[in-house]
């Protein structure tokens, strides 16, 4: 039994050996950089000054290292440490699994969309809007990645960090909704070309193809206009438009908060301060107007 050594004990031995070699190396280096006794041309002031303080700090650091590494070398400490480390891959795997599932969902949407390529397009209908792909991406961001930026911040500068993370998060959300919105706006263009092709094919069958290039443009622009008019009246468009504007406002507010943090250390008034002043002036002017009317 005594011959059987657990892996952790092996790790402990390895750690102890590495610790010993590191301590020896840094001890030698310290002696090399700061040989015992003052240098011949070193003044008393220098010995008491920067040089002396650096040497003292380095020696203190080495002693601390020896103490900490010694404590870690104890088998029970090492076991606790490696146990924690062993849990890390599980955490990482869990994170990866969640993100991978979302990625698969996006890929599935892409495949579904690709499968619809070449299908007949009904003119002036938007009953099956493909922007779901981008909506899925936005949702994935909101549900997965955004959470990392919302991890509570700690310490003295936590509020600044929080505002910065919030700005980054708001920017990402705005970009996601903007992509959704732009993809929606691009849809009528693609659809109008497909409808135009079908219309031209019909005319060709009848032998009524227009001779002038302008006639094709007129046909296309009419179809395009009709598609936009139809799209603009859908609930999806109204929702996406509204979400894009809201996310833009949210991002700009968050960005302004970060800028105000930066300005607070400079002799420049912030927008909140000037707004407060404007509001006060507005209030006073209204009072003045009321008094003037009352007097007149």
């Amino acid at each position: 039994m005594a011959e059987e050594r657990s892996p952790n004990t092996e790790d402990g031995n390895m750690f102890a050996q590495w610790n010993e070699s590191m301590t020896t190396m840094w001890g030698s280096m310290l002696r090399l950089w700061f040989p015992d006794g003052p240098a011949p041309d070193q003044s008393a002031a220098d010995r008491r000054g920067t040089h002396g303080r650096v040497r003292a700090s380095a020696e203190a650091a080495l002693k601390n290292w020896q103490a900490i590494s010694g404590a870690f070398s104890a088998p029970e400490s090492l076991e606790a440490l490696f146990k924690g480390a062993g849990a890390m891959p599980e955490v990482l795997a869990q994170l990866a699994q969640t993100s991978f599932n979302s990625y698969l969902e996006v890929q599935q949407k892409m495949l579904e969309q690709a499968g619809r390529l070449g299908e007949h397009v009904d003119a002036y209908t938007f009953t099956d809007i493909d922007e779901n792909l981008f909506r899925t991406w936005t949702e994935m961001y909101e549900q997965e990645f955004s959470r990392f930026l919302q991890i509570p911040k700690l310490g003295l500068v936590r509020e600044y960090q929080e505002r910065m993370s919030h700005a980054v998060d708001a920017y990402n959300r705005f970009q996601a909704t903007l992509t959704e919105f732009l993809s929606l706006l691009a849809m009528p263009v693609g659809r109008s070309f497909t409808v135009l092709q079908e219309q031209v094919a019909e005319l060709a069958e009848k032998g009524e193809m227009p001779e002038e290039g302008r006639a094709y443009y007129d046909m296309w622009i009419k179809v395009l206009e009709g598609h936009y008019m139809t799209l603009f009246q859908t609930q999806e468009y109204a929702d996406t438009f509204s979400r894009t504007l809201s996310s833009l406002s949210a991002y700009q507010s968050a960005r302004n908060a970060v800028i105000e943090d930066m300005l607070s250390g400079l002799p420049i008034p912030t927008q909140s301060e000037t707004d407060s002043l404007y509001q006060e002036i507005h209030r006073l002017k209204r009072r003045l107007r009321a008094l003037e009317k009352e007097k007149a």
């Binding site: 622009i221 206009e225 438009f241 003045l288």
Partner: protein
């Protein structure tokens, strides 16, 4: 092998012909663009007779003695600029009024900055507008003046007339939204989904470029593409190019919209439709449309995509006036003021309607006014005098 129905050779030869024409047009077009172009807008001379903060009052005096006893105050919207009423020679509503002998005052709202974001309906209507009306009444020694509102300026004029009926002799509303509960215009549909609080919190005022983008998105195929294709097709025509650029200048010369006005307009008007129900409150007082008892002329465009007829036509039924009239012209929101077709009927109709009700007029105008006569030679704008307002 079946014979194709597509006359490929004919199409190809037409394409070659079109390409040659395009080359010639591009060459001539570049000559036009490089030449001196007159693209000035708002060329009719005026004086600034009053100023309060950023708001100015323009005064346009007709040639010779005015033929109306009562002057007309025109209140434009806070969106875009009042220069649209005097866009170009031959298409100027202001000039047509002057040609009929009507003295015209017009409010220039200016360019709101961040400090104006707290100015709401009350500040604009019972503040600036009321001060302007009082200034004109005092200047002409008259108890009442004529009031004409345009788009949002019309909404302001309706509210003003309801709250100060004793100061308005006749009211003219043009493309004025008063009923917002309609699905006919995209703007009405979209505004229900907007969160004005968030926009105002972020921007202070609603930025003009955001509004302009919104307007372009109402019809991107025509406004962002076809319009410029049309420009390329006519770029060898100097007159066309000049007029096109004038319109471009006007469209994109847009002030920001004060945040508090935007918020109230969206929440109380577009989202709750309070005005037409006489439930709107401005400055702590109700806006009771039944208090509008002066004659009312309500003009709107049949093809207006921003303020459709459904948004305008309920006003005459809601006011207390006995003398009221709706006129629906076969035109759009901007065309009503600038199209050559409506120039002959829109402004002359208003001038005639006012003349019939200008009981103290000095001289009767002709019963059936003719289209605007030829413009007099261009005069230089008179020097701007020091504003007389007592405001800060």
């Amino acid at each position: 092998m079946t014979q194709s129905n597509i006359p490929v050779d004919l199409i190809m030869s037409k394409l070659a012909e079109a390409s040659e024409k395009a080359q010639t047009k591009a060459r001539k077009g570049s000559e036009v663009l490089l030449a001196d172009l007159n693209t000035d807008i708002a060329p009719t001379p005026y004086e600034i007779v009053y100023q309060e903060d950023r708001v100015k009052l323009k005064y346009y005096r007709p040639e010779g003695k005015p033929k109306y006893k009562t002057p007309l105050l025109v209140v434009y919207a806070l969106i875009n600029r009042e220069t649209m009423l005097d866009l170009q020679p031959g298409r100027s509503v202001v000039q047509t009024f002057l040609d009929h002998g009507l003295e015209v005052y017009m409010i220039e709202w200016g360019y709101p900055t961040r400090k104006d974001c707290f100015l709401g309906f009350d500040d604009h209507i019972n503040g600036y507008m009321d001060n302007v009306v009082d200034f004109i009444r005092k200047r002409h020694n008259l108890p009442k003046i004529h009031l004409m509102g345009i788009c949002m300026g019309g909404t302001f004029s309706v509210i003003y007339s309801a709250q100060h009926p004793e100061k308005i002799k006749n009211l003219v509303t043009t493309v004025t939204p008063t009923n917002f509960d309609t699905d006919k215009g995209l703007l009405h549909q979209w505004m229900r989904h907007i969160d004005p609080d968030a926009l105002v919190r972020t921007h202070g005022n609603l930025p003009a470029h955001v509004m302009n983008l919104g307007f372009l998105l109402l019809n991107p195929a025509r406004l962002m593409l076809d319009k410029y294709v049309g420009f390329l097709e006519h770029m060898d025509n100097k007159k066309f190019v000049e007029n096109f650029i004038r319109m471009e200048k006007w469209i994109f010369d847009s002030p920001d919209l004060p945040g508090a006005v935007f918020k109230k307009f969206i929440q109380d008007c577009y989202q709750q439709n309070l005005l037409i129900q006489s439930k709107l409150q401005v400055g702590g007082s109700p806006v009771n449309l039944k208090k509008i008892t002066m004659p009312l002329l309500n003009i709107y465009g049949l093809y207006d995509h921003l303020v459709p007829p459904e948004a305008c036509e309920k006003l005459t039924g809601a006011v207390g006036s006995k003398d009221k009239e709706d006129i629906c012209l076969r035109t759009g929101h901007i065309g009503i003021y600038v199209s050559s077709k409506t120039q002959a009927e829109f402004a002359p109709k208003i001038a005639a309607w006012l003349a019939e009700r200008d009981t103290q007029r000095k001289l009767s105008p002709k019963p059936a006014p003719k289209p605007a006569p030829k413009r007099p030679p261009k005069r230089k704008a008179r020097k701007t005098p020091q504003p007389k307002a007592a405001a800060t």
